[in-house]
């Protein structure tokens, strides 16, 4: 039952399916727990009534949360793949623009102002997600540079210096 540890994601057209599925799983599990709690909280007293209300709320709202997350993930991944093939490179700006476009497309029916607001919100969220690993790597790199300064000098230089002094005598 050993799993192959794969660090790499799927190639681009199939990545959309994976991202939509991941979004659905996250949304359905998280939203299911949330709506189960809400069903228990806003129910008539009594164990049986509360449990039944929680299950009903979970069944009614959990898949909806999952579907919303899946639509967001799938749209984001589609936009990411489109930008990647258009620009020919893969960098954090792709993700930021893809997040803005996906959020804007989901708010398409609310009007121009709502679209712009949703796009800015999506860009900020994706910018935060993308900038945290970059900041972490940069912080680790500065620490690494301080470590390398404390190293001893290269012994080959010492040998050359000795040879030159011998030659002068």
């Amino acid at each position: 039952m050993d799993d192959i540890e794969s660090l790499y994601r799927e190639p681009c057209p199939w990545r959309i399916v994976d991202d939509a599925g991941g979004g659905f799983a996250i949304g359905a599990i998280g939203g299911g727990i949330f709506s189960f709690y809400k069903g228990i909280r806003f129910s008539s007293p009594g164990f049986k009534s509360r449990a039944w209300s929680g299950v009903q709320a979970l069944k009614a709202r959990g898949p909806v949360y999952g579907g919303n997350f899946a639509v967001w993930g799938g749209l984001f991944s589609t936009m990411d793949c489109c930008l990647m093939s258009l620009r020919g490179k893969e960098d954090p700006w792709n993700s930021v623009v893809a997040g803005a476009t996906a959020s804007g497309m989901l708010a398409l029916r609310t009007g121009m102002v709502g679209m712009i607001g949703a796009a800015i919100g999506g860009a900020i969220i994706l910018g935060l997600i993308e900038s945290i690993p970059i900041a972490m790597t940069r912080y680790q790199a500065t620490q690494q540079r301080e470590m390398t300064f404390q190293q001893a000098p290269d012994p080959s230089i010492l040998g050359k210096q000795d040879v030159s002094t011998l030659h002068r005598h």
């Binding site: 192959i4 399916v17 939509a20 991941g22 898949p63 909806v64 999952g66 799938g74």
Partner: protein, 195 residues
């Protein structure tokens, strides 16, 4: 190369194909590393097209993709399939609704079409996505429980997912859903040799 007949035994690096497609490799590598050689017999003859996937290491035959990747793949494909099916049904319903709205304005007709698509599409997509998620989770649990990976796991997982999906309706609906799931996945894997 073309139309000439090639004697496989005379070529370097070519081996008997029966050793490549040995189905008992799974059992021999279970638990311990008793490899004949670290590298499987791998031929570089481009005229041979293998009918089954080839593995560089023998131990890889008993491995699979990680659970998270399988979960996302199964759930995503189920959700997108359901969304496409429900969306098509919604388009048909919207076209039927447009016959009644021939005198209405353009905006009203567009809204009617969008409403009928967004009513049916997410309904189908959510239900199929939830079913696929149940299937992926229960398959993983059954796979751990049986300590084996074959297609019988998938049949059990489909039965379990169907019963879990309809368990709050009634006993009859639960039994029918589980039976239906088992029949569908069983028929899918009926002609597979590994069941």
């Amino acid at each position: 190369m073309g139309s000439e007949e090639i004697d496989l035994a005379e070529l370097p690096f070519s081996n008997d194909n029966s050793s490549l497609h040995d189905t008992n490799v799974l059992d021999s590598t279970r638990g311990s590393i008793n490899m004949v050689s670290p590298i499987m017999p791998y031929h570089f003859n481009t005229n041979i097209i293998p009918s089954k996937p080839e593995y560089i290491f023998q131990l890889d035959t008993s491995r699979s993709r990680p659970f998270t990747l399988r979960l996302t793949y199964i759930t995503g494909s189920g959700y997108i399939t359901g969304l496409a099916l429900g969306g098509s049904w919604g388009i048909v319903e919207g076209c039927i609704a447009l016959f009644r709205l021939q005198d209405a304005s353009r905006k009203v007709r567009i809204t009617a079409m969008l409403n009928s698509i967004t009513r049916r599409g997410p309904l189908f997509g959510n239900n199929l996505g939830i079913l696929s998620m149940y299937f992926a989770f229960s398959e993983q649990i059954i796979r751990r429980f049986r300590n084996n990976q074959d297609n019988l796991n998938k049949v059990f997982a489909a039965i379990f997912a169907g019963t879990l999906w309809r368990c709050t309706k009634s006993l009859r609906a639960t039994v029918i859903a589980g039976f239906f799931g088992g029949i569908v996945v069983g028929c899918y894997h009926l002609f597979d040799d590994s069941i």
